[in-house]
């Protein structure tokens, strides 16, 4: 499909999947004529009509709940939540219905569906257009959680998500929607969940991140490179399952690690990674794993860049683990 941004890749991939499988339907607020407020479903309404691209009333509970019911009946719904922050009015449908249906019915019913949502800050959206709720999802048994950071991975992961037999929360790095353009292969390919992507190889420190903060993490790696410090950079790509093997292998080899995520710090997903590293490879740690995260405040409007774990804060953390 040539050079494409993340948001273009989403629209394109949805189109491919809808063409491939007529069980795939889209629903959400403004996904129809408008093509989504970010244009992630652009032109699909015009192409597939109102039965397969459904503009819903303004209710996230209706969106997620109806997607569950559609999936149960054999469709493959892809629901859009306009901003990740608005998952909360539909949170119960996600955690009580979508996540638990297969289990509570003994496998009689299941909800193969995708819940797409632009997430993360840095777009001057204040606290209700900037949040990173991934930890809530990871902590909910029954959900898979994916968070790509490049157009290439977006295509492969979104295809896997749509074809997966379980509910997948598909988070999208909204501040990178149009920031990166890369060559996205024409062919049909899927990227397996739980396989991290080694974005850089390096020997002095490992940087682990995912989603929107990959951009900041790579910038930090570049800056380190200039200082003669070689950083291994891991893009997790999916958080549930997450690729413990790759992370542990790199950290065991290098001994030093910085974990980057923009969600609030307290009980952040990266705490799980840190705790796992200690449990698995304590003796290989030459320094404590350090988490660089958002702060434990609601997401602020003013100084929303300062809230984020930018390259400077990452470099400071690297300094700390290197000088430990």
């Amino acid at each position: 499909m040539g050079l494409a941004t993340i948001v273009q890749t989403i629209a394109h991939t949805l189109d491919e999947e809808m063409r491939r499988d007529d069980r795939v339907v889209i629903l959400g607020e403004d996904v129809g004529k408008r093509g989504g407020v970010f244009l992630a479903t652009e032109a699909l309404f015009q192409k597939y009509g109102p039965d397969r691209v459904i503009d819903t009333p303004l209710s996230e509970a209706a969106i997620i709940g109806a997607a569950v019911g559609m999936a149960v009946h054999g469709l493959r719904p892809v629901a859009e939540i306009q901003f990740a922050d608005y998952i909360f009015p539909g949170f119960d449908q996600l955690v009580s219905q979508a996540a638990k249906l297969r289990y509570r019915s003994g496998g009689q019913f299941s909800a193969p569906m995708v819940i797409r949502m632009p997430a993360g800050g840095g777009v001057k959206g204040g606290h209700h257009h900037s949040q990173s709720p991934e930890t809530h999802f990871v902590h909910t048994p029954g959900l898979k959680v994916v968070y790509p950071s490049t157009p290439h991975d977006t295509k492969g992961l979104l295809k896997t998500a749509i074809r997966d037999d379980d509910p997948v929360v598909f988070m999208e790095p909204k501040r990178l929607y149009r920031a990166i353009k890369e060559e996205v292969p024409e062919e049909d390919y899927c990227i397996e969940f739980g396989k991290a992507h080694l974005r850089r190889k390096g020997d002095d420190v490992v940087l682990v991140s995912y989603g929107a903060t990959m951009a900041e993490t790579l910038k930090a790696a570049d800056a380190l490179h200039e200082q003669g410090i070689s950083a291994e950079v891991i893009d997790l790509r999916s958080l549930l399952p997450w690729d413990k093997t790759t992370v542990c292998r790199s950290v065991a080899r290098v001994g030093r690690v910085v974990l980057v995520s923009e969600a609030p710090r307290m009980a952040n997903f990266m705490s799980e990674v840190s705790a796992t590293l200690t449990e698995e490879i304590l003796d290989a740690l030459l320094a404590p794993p350090i988490r660089v995260t958002g702060f434990d405040t609601p997401y602020p409007y003013a100084y929303d860049r300062e809230y984020l774990p930018g390259p400077n804060r990452i470099l400071k953390a690297v300094q700390k683990v290197l000088s430990y």
Partner: protein
């Protein structure tokens, strides 16, 4: 969207009734059901009643941890089942509906198995009693979270519409459920989509201890349909014929593409909310006694007797037969054996992921 009603008008002031207290026919049309059908209504209601009694017995013996008795709701539930095509139409029930499932044909052994979490439960023992579900009968497994099944029910109905399958959904719930946001989200979306679904509220005037007038200031639940552009029917829920005829019409309308409706069935919970409840804390005994005189089973019994279709002796024989069936079903459910511990880790996902494999290994 709404087709002109054939027999009944929505938003009536008084509940629709077809059977008087003494069991007399009140309908303005000729009753055109054969005696087999009428007797099946009664039989299904009696099975529901006796099922609960059996569960209460098992509870007293410590074999079942929880019961949510449905006595008083039988007419409503049996009528809903009778209006549907079993295994074709879908049902999204709530927790107080053994009568509905039994009348649809779900084997008693599965329901007892569910209540005792044995291998006879197709849900594999994952939930507390009163949470059945059956893929075979298109019965969506109950979730405890009140009203949370309504948006999924609507999604299924939209799928039916989009794919033009000719199927219909019935989703049922209590009066308390109508206060949840999910009730609103579900009915509103169904209205917009004109989806083939009938919403059935079994209004027993209490949500545990909370009386109807603390639940909502609306005069009736049926009137809430207006907010969604749907017809709302107010029905005497202890009159199995009224429930059946209204449901039959609502289901037919949905099937023909004329969209959803809301049916309020006014019932009364003759027992406590559950085996964990003490309803004397909040309900006057006299109120309960008054409602007991309107017992839907007794009323149908009178109706049948009235027409010479039923006798005391037949009643006793039927009871004995059902008791025998249930004793056997309980035995079968128990004999199926406890669910194995390793099942704890299955069905979280279609395939067991690594982290659950590790956790299973650690436990076993």
């Amino acid at each position: 969207m709404i087709k002109d009603s054939q027999l009944f008008q929505p938003f009536s002031e008084k509940p629709i009734r077809l059977m008087g207290d003494a069991g007399e026919w009140l309908g303005s049309f000729e009753l055109n059901l054969d005696s087999d059908t009428l007797l099946k209504f009664y039989r299904d209601m009696l099975r529901a009643r006796l099922f609960d009694e059996r569960l209460l017995l098992l509870h007293r013996r410590g074999q079942v941890s929880f019961v949510a008795p449905s006595a008083g709701h039988e007419a409503a539930q049996v009528a809903v089942a009778a209006a549907l095509k079993p295994k074709k139409d879908w049902v999204f029930p709530y927790y107080r509906e053994p009568g509905l499932l039994l009348a649809l044909g779900v084997p008693a052994v599965e329901l007892f198995g569910q209540a005792m979490a044995t291998r006879a439960d197709p849900n594999r023992g994952r939930q507390m009693p009163a949470h059945p579900g059956s893929r075979d009968f298109n019965v969506f497994t109950v979730a405890s979270v009140i009203a949370s099944h309504l948006p999924p029910a609507v999604g299924t109905a939209i799928s039916m519409k989009v794919r033009n399958t000719g199927e219909v959904v019935v989703a049922s719930f209590g009066d308390g459920a109508t206060s949840e946001g999910d009730f609103h989200a579900g009915l509103n979306f169904a209205g917009v989509q004109g989806a083939p679904i009938v919403f059935v509220c079994q209004n027993n005037r209490y949500a545990i201890s909370v009386e109807y007038h603390k639940q909502t200031a609306a005069e009736t639940i049926a009137s809430k349909a207006e907010a969604y552009g749907l017809p709302g029917y107010l029905v005497d829920g202890m009159d199995v014929l009224a429930c059946f005829f209204v449901m039959r019409e609502a289901v037919a309308r949905a099937r023909q593409g004329f969209g959803p409706s809301l049916v309020e069935m006014q019932v009364y919970r003759l027992g406590p909310h559950s085996s964990a409840d003490d309803d004397t804390r909040y309900r006057p005994v006299e109120e309960v006694e008054t409602w007991k005189t309107r017992d839907p089973l007794a009323r149908m019994h009178r109706f049948l007797a009235h027409r010479g279709l039923w006798s005391r002796e037949e009643d006793l024989a039927l009871r004995t037969e059902i008791e025998r069936e249930f004793r056997q079903a309980v035995e079968d459910a128990q004999r199926a054996g406890a669910v194995p511990l390793e099942w704890m880790f299955e069905d979280v996902f279609a395939e067991l992921p690594d982290h659950l494999r590790e956790q299973r290994r650690d436990l076993l």
